[in-house]
């Protein structure tokens, strides 16, 4: 049979196949499938589109991708869990390297560099959150929060969990699915003027069977929760653990949650050097103090530094591997598998490039740019620049209730002006009516923001 040898499949060469079959002692390749019963074997070919050569494939895919409009072409003010930030070229260079891109589960002796890069990621992020333990990254913030909460439940032996009502609705879905049926969830209300947690409501719900309270700071709605210490003091009375979700790019200027009493901190690494990738850039982290009872409850891998038999060498390996489901199957702490290690390495590169000053600068620029945007939007008649009166980081609610337009209508018209407006909050937070969550970062210039403001003015003037 004459057949084309596909570039991805070297052993399609007929002569080689014949030789190999001879070694095996088989007449044909199909004979090797004899373990699959005849009635389960497909008759005929799968109905798939025809194969493409590399050139055809590139044209085909680029043709499809051209139907997209990217945030390089339009001005973007969407955030809400995936954010547009500046990405240093070195981050891309490192995560494109074949060695890191295609490595997987090698031993410390063949993948020393992978172990070191991930250990360094843990160590760099530990400085940012000011805690002693950080895990090899998990799937995303939602998963990290869900696991942090499960860890808290195992540590305390309690099943009830309080969630701030302002936690991202998307993450709440992940947390509840991940925690059920074992855990029981209840929401703590917030002040709709400031966004701050309602401490009276917290006190009421905070009983001695509560394992953990989970809240986010900066919150999903952008505001900074200023009552960290007060919340922590309340939790101590019932020995409830404080789990805080955080946007790590805020931590050059905001106090890390460990400074106001957090037991476990989690969040998303995407702001630290990952392109948005239509949400493919998300990666979660979990951090804690170095307490045996806490470390023992991590389900994920934790790389540690060790000496080798030769003086002067750093070695690395898995800390307390017996915790994991790799070793224990259903008796492990939750489950672990492929997660988002490459993004951990990339986040490490980002932190190494920015250093202490860069992290402070980026945080400050984000605060300045977003405050300017809120201030300018607030000058538009009938628009409230920041609906909440608390200070905020990166994101803030813009209130369009008095404009006579819905957020959907405004966003639609913004797209005509090549702008992606803020996320419509009217379904997730109906208490804010027609409001949108706008995201402004260090990538936005004054011109960008002024352009947005003018565009909204023009839309409302019609």
């Amino acid at each position: 049979m004459s057949q084309k040898v596909h570039p991805y499949i070297p052993n399609m060469v007929p002569e080689v196949q014949t030789e190999m079959l001879k070694v095996i002692g088989a007449e044909s390749i199909m004979e090797l499938f004899s373990g699959i019963p005849e009635e389960l074997q497909l008759k005929g070919d799968l109905k798939l589109p025809p194969a493409l050569t590399e050139y055809e494939l590139r044209r085909h895919i680029e043709g499809i991708l051209n139907k997209n409009t990217s945030t390089k072409e339009y001005l973007n003010f969407l955030g809400a869990g995936c954010w547009q930030h500046f990405i240093p070229a070195v981050c891309d260079e490192i995560n494109q390297r074949s060695e890191f891109l295609t490595a997987y589960a090698g031993e410390p002796y063949e993948d020393h560099g992978r172990f070191q890069a991930l250990y360094e990621y843990q160590s760099l992020l530990a400085e940012l959150v000011d805690m002693d333990v950080v895990n090899v990254p998990t799937f995303d913030w939602g998963q990290a929060a869900a696991t942090s909460i499960r860890m808290a439940a195992r540590i305390t032996g309690r099943k009830k969990v309080l969630l701030a009502k302002t936690v991202a609705p998307e993450r709440i879905k992940i947390i509840i699915n991940y925690g059920s049926p074992e855990l029981e969830f209840e929401f703590v209300q917030f002040d709709t003027k400031s966004g701050a947690m309602d401490l009276e409501d917290l006190k009421e719900k905070l009983t001695e069977d509560v394992a953990a309270l989970y809240f986010e700071n900066p919150s999903y709605l952008g505001f900074i929760e200023a009552q960290g210490t007060e919340i922590s003091n309340l939790l101590k009375e019932t020995e409830t653990l404080m789990v805080v979700g955080v946007d790590p790019i805020s931590l050059g200027v905001l106090a890390p949650p460990s400074h106001y009493g957090a037991d476990i901190v989690c969040g998303d690494l995407q702001p630290l050097g990952m392109h948005m990738n239509y949400s493919g850039g998300q990666a979660g982290f979990i951090a804690s103090h170095n307490e045996v009872k806490v470390v023992s409850e991590y389900p994920s891998r934790l790389f540690g530094i060790v000496p080798t038999v030769k003086e002067g060498e750093y070695g690395f390996g898995d800390v307390a591997y017996e915790r994991t489901s790799f070793a224990q199957r259903e008796n492990g702490k939750e489950s672990v598998g492929t997660q988002t290690a490459l993004w951990g390495i990339t986040a490490g590169v980002y932190l190494a490039l920015l250093g202490p000053n860069g992290m402070q600068e980026v945080g400050q620029t984000i605060m300045q740019n977003s405050q300017y945007a809120a201030q300018e939007l607030n000058k538009i008649a009938a628009v409230t620049g920041s609906r909440l009166h608390s200070s905020f980081f990166k994101e803030f609610i813009v209130d369009f209730n008095q404009t006579g337009y819905s957020v959907e209508q405004i966003n639609h018209r913004l797209i005509e002006k090549k702008i992606f407006g803020g996320k419509d909050l009217s379904l997730e937070f109906p208490e804010f009516g027609q409001s949108a969550l706008f995201c402004v970062t260090e990538v936005h210039t004054k011109e960008d923001i002024d352009h947005l403001v003018q565009a909204i003015k023009d839309i409302l003037a019609k």
């Binding site: 070297p10 499938f33 990217s70 547009q84 997987y104 002693d132 060790v306 750093y314 939750e334 190494a352």
Partner: protein
């Protein structure tokens, strides 16, 4: 010119060794790695320093203790670490059985870096992401055809997360039927991946594990004894990690269905089945494929990946939302799924991996996919014959052909020489080859699992086999060479048990290491 003789059957390899410091040791105050976008003057004059707005209690009092390092040094550091990593692009990566290491087509890596993919926000208006939605939808159509399932979600970002999503669907399904409390058991097999048992346990199920019969097949009598009105589901890999296909799989799924349970299929080992047999005909209600295994997306040191989750029409409403639909020339996101388990990952999953898998399928077509399966199985059976001829090597259970991989055993070699599979693992690194010692618990004694896939030529396979053969010879003739390995690695042996399992000594971060070495003086 003298003819240069190159006759050695194994490679004279040495892993890169840069003796690279920990990044904190590169700190030079005043250096910086990157210049950030500046704040515009007009903004600073309008709002001031920005940080004054932070309530005093929430202001960071001192800068994070990160190192200050110039850009070139950061780059050099990480490039050296990359060189000290043996990615699958560099070695004949057939020693990581059950993980389907295959060639990563470079065109796909180029395509995912198109700004029209990389710079998309997941909440953009559907009109502006029609291309991305089209890729999701078209991959869904391909996956439906390959598996026989009716709808796919690409939200789970690994096989483990797909298994978790499937266990979540099982729970929701029985709750809907009012049997949530009654059905509290999930059945699996010992040679299925550990994640199957672990994720079902996270979802609150009691796990019943079936052990194989004397030939290595899942034991149908044990299944019959295990099912009851408490059975919520049955999750299994087929072929299992032994490379043995369960020929009675349809009887298995029938038995579970009769007991009222759902059947879900771990297709992490699907590489030898493409175009050959499908989940649907075997009676499964759900299945998943690892796009980073069977569909040639890279493993990326352990993610991000994708566990493409397929279900029959009856379970569509249980999928994590949203899924992509197509009506009258327009792609859209369907968020309203009546019984949706909610979400397992934020937004839509790992879009790059979805794109890579679609590109790979389009590069191969139906005929190519079948050639993948056929060649992978040919390569595996070639290796199987060659490896069994190596002194001290064996493979328990049924004789005859295996599918895409084999779980082998060095039990005999260990008995005769004292050399263990862990010793061999370290010695293999001396030849620039990765070798994994297989999943716990070691039901197969001194195990190793080889999965040659379609990506390797006969010469590549022979190179790997030759290395195993040489190590076997060494074990019988001079075992110390093997036991003292690695000899050509970046580093020498580490003391795992003492330093990694002892809370007094473990150091998960550099700051802990600095604290502990000063306090305890453990490392001089």
């Amino acid at each position: 010119m003298k003819r240069i003789q190159r006759t050695s059957k194994t490679r004279d390899f040495h892993q890169a060794k840069w003796n690279e410091p920990i990044i904190f040791e590169l700190h030079q105050p005043g250096e910086k790695g990157v210049e950030l976008p500046p704040v515009n003057d007009g903004i600073a004059s309008a709002v001031g320093d920005g940080t004054s707005a932070i309530p005093a209690a929430m202001r960071r009092k001192s800068k994070p203790n990160l190192p200050e390092i110039g850009q070139a040094r950061v780059l050099r550091h990480y490039l050296r670490l990359s060189q000290e990593t043996l990615g699958s692009d560099f070695n004949v990566e057939i020693g990581q059985g059950t993980c389907t290491m295959k060639y990563i087509p470079r065109i796909n890596e180029l395509l995912i870096r198109d700004p029209k993919m990389m710079e998309l926000h997941p909440l953009q208006n559907e009109e502006t992401v029609q291309g991305m939605l089209e890729i999701f939808y078209k991959l869904d159509l391909c996956m439906r055809e390959i598996s026989g399932m009716d709808y796919f979600s690409f939200q789970p970002s690994s096989g483990t997360q797909a298994l978790f999503a499937m266990a979540s669907i099982v729970r929701k399904y029985h709750e809907q039927k009012g049997e949530g409390d009654q059905r509290d058991e999930i059945i699996t097999t010992i040679f299925s991946h550990p994640s199957q048992a672990a994720t079902a346990a996270v979802k609150g199920y009691k796990i019943i594990t079936l052990h194989p019969d004397e030939n290595g097949f899942p034991d149908i009598e044990k299944l019959k004894a295990a099912v009851s009105e408490r059975t919520a589901g049955f999750v299994v890999a087929n072929p299992e990690d032994t490379g043995i296909f369960n020929p009675k799989i349809k009887e298995f799924t029938d038995i579970v269905h009769q007991a009222g349970g759902l059947c879900f299929y771990d297709q992490a080992n699907a590489n030898g089945l493409l175009g050959i047999t499908r989940a649907k005909e075997a009676g499964f209600d759900m299945c998943f494929f690892n796009l980073h295994k069977t569909f040639a997306a890279p493993h990326m040191c352990g993610g991000p990946a994708t566990g493409a989750l397929g279900v029959t029409a009856a379970l569509k409403e249980y999928l994590p939302a949203p899924i992509v639909e197509y009506h009258e020339g327009k792609y859209s996101l369907q968020h309203d799924l009546e019984h949706s388990i909610g979400k397992v990952r934020s937004f839509h999953g790992v879009a790059q991996t979805v794109l890579r898998a679609y590109a790979w399928i389009r590069a191969l077509g139906a005929g190519g996919l079948k050639e993948v399966a056929k060649t992978a199985v040919l390569n595996n059976n070639y290796m199987y014959h060659k490896v069994l001829a190596i002194r001290g090597a064996g493979a328990p259970y049924v004789k005859g052909h295996r599918l895409e991989q084999v779980r082998y055993s060095w039990e005999q070699l260990t008995k005769e020489t004292g050399v263990t599979t862990e010793d061999i693992q370290l010695r293999m690194t001396d030849f620039g080859l990765h070798y994994w010692t297989s999943h716990h618990p070691y039901i197969v004694k001194q195990p190793f699992t080889l999965e040659p896939t379609e990506s390797y030529s006969k010469e590549d396979l022979d190179e790997y086999i030759n290395a195993l053969e040489q190590i076997s010879n060494e074990a019988y003739e001079n075992p110390e060479i093997v036991k003292s390995a690695p000899h050509n690695s970046t580093i020498h042996k580490i003391d795992e048990q003492d330093y990694l399992d002892n809370p007094e000594k473990w150091c998960i971060t550099w700051r802990t290491y600095v604290k502990k070495t000063e306090a305890y003086n453990l490392v001089k």
